[in-house]
Amino acid sequence: MTAEPQTTEQRPLVLGLAEREVRRQGPLAWVVAFARQSPLNVLALLLILLFLFLVAFGSALAPHDPVKPNIQVKLHPPSSTYWFGTDELGRDILSRVMSGAKYSLGIAFIILSIALVVGVLVGALAGYLGGLVDEVLMRITDLFLAFPALILAMAIAATLGRNLQNVVIALTAVYWPWYARLVRGQVLAIKEREFVEAARAVGATPERVMLRHILPNTMAPVIVQLTIDVGYAVLATAGLSFLGLGAQPPLPEWGTMIAGARTFFREAWWYISFPGLALTLTVVGFNLLGDGLRDYFDPRSRRH
């Protein structure tokens, strides 16, 4: 018998611990405990709060119209009127960055929500039912995983047409297989455990076993993966828009803004810098959160 901890099997228990703590302390206290674990966790939470705030209120609070050109002030450097300067059509870059959060980040949330639902459903069915169902579902999953992710997304987006809805479809097609694989692995490990056997023994239906006993215990790695993927999804959305496959002008999506700015970066550094900074901070924020959560759920690195 090995003395090494079996991390795959411990995670459900760890999440159980976290859930118990959340229930015992309340969500706010849990957030405080999480924040106290590392200063980077504080930074991650602040960044994410800032961008979530912009998703909700960015458009309403923008000081200028983010879409309407005012070409008389084109490529105006940062000033007291235009804090982040203006673009080649005289639009306020601060207003566009603020309004753009709901496209760049909002689209990422939608993509991952759909990918999560599809991936969890496929992974859970494959893992729990096994046999032929597992084989068929996993080969379909392999089919999607066989292509390089961004190339597949570009191909889908280019085929369907250039707009944000098709970016959602393209990136969802890229992300769901990862969740299916992850959840299947978790389900395979958990379904043989004693508490699941016990549930079956007392007559729980397969649906109840799955929904009440297995799925909740697969969520820890999924949540960690989800937080890290938000950053990548934002980047991928911006990447497709940068290539002209996503948001179309005049939508102030960050990738579209960076694409438009690359021609002017020699004369107007502010144009490319601020949407780029927003993108960077969003990705870093979610990556730090993902790392923080992983450490928090991992008893080996958790501080008490």
Binding site: V67, R162, E267
Partner: protein, 584 residues
């Protein structure tokens, strides 16, 4: 004792080299670096641009500036440089290398290094000529017989002689193959076997059934009448491809001063001097053409001195590059008119008139083109024969636009599509200004950026008008100085879809009739009268497009390049055989 900073960095570096950094450490340090970079950039930018109070947006037509006049040497003497490579930049690939098929500006610029016409336009003129493959030329008083005396020692790059029979065979191929720019010859020569005669080895005669005052102008076009090797055609033709087009699309065998040594159509072309060239050898040993898609990269290559010539820059870059003492930006008037094609089948007359009033004319000319364009009243620029100054121009009037669009049946909330090639910052800006104007009157304009090849394929392919967007961005200049040649491929009903360049399917019987009369017009007055009638219909009565500007172009050269002469017909091309580099 606290760890000292240098030791901390050393530890960090050692860990990084050993691959022992955790993801969290990488993120943490990456974040610090990322956050500090914009701050440093801001400080550097602030130091470098003390006078950056307002955007650099001159509104007047740009002047030639301090750079030497085209072809002039500042010192008055020729101190030749030892560097004999000339590197030029293109914004896209050149997939078709057949000069009698490609109808593409970048291809024609390339061809002038390796292929030759019989004659070429002289200097900046559009009606004076100078020798190319022909040493002399003449015509009879009736303008029905044109005689060319060829260079006796001319050879193709494959070593075969370029005599009168070879030139005739090349013109027969051009006319019979009926590809791309063949209207340049078909207007004058319907039966090339009969109408073109090789009198002796160096004398070639073209006979036309009626007077053709524009024949020499057409023969000097850089689109089509370039001479290819008939021996190579014979060697590589097949039953399915009797003119060896597939072979010529990938290979070059001409008589020009340079022969190709490397041709990678999407990357680069390398030419070296042809030792058996029939005339004075050119200065440059090698011409290297590189395909660089990104505007910013082309500019960087010019500013770093890695490239020596480029004719593809947006107005903003041109204005900025004029401040660079290592470069010369040579502006010149052209025969180019830019327009927005309107889908004739999807938009009725009143709608097209309404949209024409909604275009932001002055904003585009002043703030987007930065003076690299001026108002124009139709498809014929003031530099082309037939221009009629009495036809008024549109001005932006959104009330009038709304009224006409309402009469046309367009309702608030209706959506239209505008397609343009990605990569052009100028076009993207214009499209968004147009979109904003239409939004003010409640109309949605959906912008569709597509890559250049896709736009060309749609424009000149077989897609029916119903599958085409409402608006497409474009522009045109004639193959030679003639109003018919500017309008026929774009607006005659015989030229719709893949039959020409009439991608908006403009089909007006009255315009067709007048164009057919214009094709055989005998005098300048008749040309002007007919052209004026056509332009009035296409601009006002039954608009074909939104004609928003006559374009001023610029070629950017390294400071030490001499001998370049721009020409309003040979737009974005180079007179390689006359250019040289001054020793500095």
């Amino acid at each position: 004792m606290a760890e000292r900073y240098p030791e901390r960095y050393l530890t960090l570096l050692l860990k990084a080299r050993a691959g022992q950094l955790t993801r969290r450490q990488v993120l943490s340090w990456g974040l610090r670096l990322g956050l500090s970079t914009p701050a440093i950039m801001s400080l550097l930018a602030a130091c470098a641009q003390p006078e950056r109070g307002a955007a650099p947006t001159p509104t007047s037509v740009p002047a030639a500036g301090a750079s030497p006049a085209p072809g002039a040497t500042p010192t008055g003497e020729r101190r030749l440089s030892e560097n004999r490579d000339f590197v030029i930049l293109f914004s896209g690939g050149v997939p078709d290398l057949d000069p009698q098929s490609a109808y593409d500006n970048q291809a024609s610029a390339l061809f002038l290094s390796c292929y030759e016409m019989l004659i070429r336009l002289k200097g900046e003129s559009t009606f004076d000529y100078e020798p190319m493959l022909a040493r002399e030329w003449s015509h009879n008083d009736e303008l029905t017989e044109f005689t060319f005396k060829l260079a006796p020692n001319a050879k193709f790059h494959d070593g075969t002689p370029c005599d009168a029979d070879a030139v005739k065979a090349s013109f027969v191929r051009f006319r019979r193959m009926e590809r791309g720019p063949y209207n340049v010859i078909s207007r004058f020569v319907d039966n090339p076997e009969e109408q073109i005669q090789a009198v002796d080895s160096t004398t070639l005669v073209f006979k036309t059934p009626k007077p053709e005052p524009l024949f020499l102008a057409a023969i000097a076009s850089e689109y089509g009448p370039l001479v290819v090797s008939p021996a190579a055609m014979e060697q590589h033709k097949t039953a399915d491809d009797p003119y060896a087009h597939e072979w010529f699309a990938q290979n070059i065998v001409g008589t020009g001063p340079y022969r190709v040594v490397e041709a990678l159509p999407q990357e680069r072309f390398v030419f070296e001097r042809f030792p058996d060239y029939h005339s004075e050898p050119p200065f440059f040993d090698r011409i290297i053409a590189r395909v660089v898609v990104e505007d910013a990269t082309r500019r960087q290559l010019m500013e770093s001195g890695e490239a020596h010539g480029c004719a593809y820059f947006n107005a903003e870059d041109l204005v900025a590059m004029k401040q660079n003492p290592a470069l010369q930006v040579i502006d010149y008037e052209t025969t180019q008119v830019n327009w927005i094609r309107m889908n004739y089948h999807k938009l009725n007359t009143k709608a097209r008139q309404g949209f024409a009033y909604a275009w932001p004319y002055q904003e585009v000319l002043d703030k987007v083109l930065l003076g690299y364009g001026k108002m124009i009243n139709g498809p014929i620029p003031d530099t082309v024969i037939g221009y009629d100054p009495s036809i008024p121009t549109y001005t932006t009037d959104l009330d009038k636009a709304k009224q006409l669009l309402t009469e046309a049946g367009v309702k608030a909330g209706d959506s239209f599509t505008f397609m343009y090639a990605s990569g052009s910052a100028d076009t993207a800006a214009m499209a968004q200004l147009f979109q904003a104007n239409l939004a003010q009157i409640g109309i949605t304009l959906e912008l569709q950026q597509v890559d250049r090849a896709a736009l060309i394929q749609l424009n000149y392919g077989d897609a029916p008008p119903e599958e085409r967007p409402h608006f497409t961005a474009g522009g045109w200049w004639p193959d030679y100085n003639d109003s018919w040649n500017q309008m026929y491929p774009n607006f005659h009903s015989n030229s719709v879809g893949s039959k020409g360049s009439n991608s908006s399917f403009y089909q007006n019987p009255e315009v067709d009739k007048l164009m057919d009369q214009l094709q055989v017009a005998k005098s300048g007055d008749e040309i002007r009268e007919l052209t004026g009638k056509i332009v009035k219909i296409m601009t006002w009565d039954d608009p074909a497009a939104i004609f928003f500007g006559q374009i001023t172009r610029a070629t950017v050269l390294a400071k030490d390049i001499r001998g370049f002469i721009p020409n309003g017909i040979y737009i974005a091309s180079y007179n390689f055989h006359q250019m040289w580099r001054e020793a500095t």
